[in-house]
Amino acid sequence: MSAYLHAFGAYLPERVVANAELAERVGKTSEWIESVSGIQQRRWAEPEQTVAGMGVAAAENCLRKAGVSSDKLGMLIVASGSAARGFPGPAAEVADRLCLGSTPALDLPMASAGSLFGLALAMRLVETHGDVLVVASEKMSALVESDPNTAILFGDGAGAALVSARRGPWRMLDAVLHTDGQYRADLAFDGTGPLRMNGLAVIMQATRKIPASILEVLGLQNISVQQVSAFLLHQANLNLLARVAKSLQVGPEKVFANVQRYGNTSSASMLIAASEWSETNSDRGPIVFSAFGAGFHWGALVAAEA
């Protein structure tokens, strides 16, 4: 059975935190922050806002765009690495607030690659569960606000995607997923903070594994890199996105970027990027999703015009 992407959605908190607001705290300049990350500003949630609440907002935005009511959903998947509670995870609350009744809701307690893994799972679950809504929501500011080393990088927000067996704009063709747990300590949050990040290890592995997984999934479908209309990647760092474009030998304009405005919103970033991209692009050529993050987990997914 085929799976189709029908729509994307996003939610970004209203509070804009520009580099200037953080520069003094980290003992650097706004320009330095932008030079090492490409980030000019990020959004931070208000204290009362939660991972589940932002996830609901992104879900509703996605369902509105898809023209689908929540009672038609057969499953909900919610990815988050920054949920405040151990269990139950935010999926239960998101499901309740969307009035899903007894529809199964699955938590993916994964950071950056969570939305990619969610899409890949949904692609296979539509056959048995019907429409699957994938949500990724992160309140990263709660994890990093007091840590000058990482506060500059992260932002808050949520994204969503509706996957269905019903014919839609993009047919999901294939996905590859990988995990290498030997790096689990290189990017980790134990619930009390601070977030630990071995930036060198993350960058070294990400700069290779993202392009490699993209080439792997394209190879499975005999699609060339040049045929791809857009690469919708986890928005970790603008310099990383540029390296991926260079590795793939494609122009940087093919790699969608909004990390400049939102920072790294972890698992939410790829779907927020997809939502923005879909609002401004009518090109229905092959699109590639890819993400890399804590675990390390990484992979890629390719979809094409139905």
Binding site: Q182, G199, L200, A201, I203, M204, T207, R208, L240
Partner: protein, 81 residues
Amino acid sequence: MPDSSRRQRLRQLVQEIAGKPAPEDDNESLFESGLLDSFALPDLVSAIEKEFAMMVPDSDLSPRKFDSIARMDAYLAEHSA
């Protein structure tokens, strides 16, 4: 065993990537000294692969193995044909 010719080639690569001379001390960390940033390291490893006609597997992509001329030299001594 340190290889002076190989170290010279490594110095040249570091200089090309960093745009500045490599440190005098082969044991000096290229990152802690600020000569290379995290995004330059993958470029350096790619340059090493090209210069020495070898592949560095992902499992060896550890900053500990490439953060000084001496460590890169040791890695190449162990892995070169």
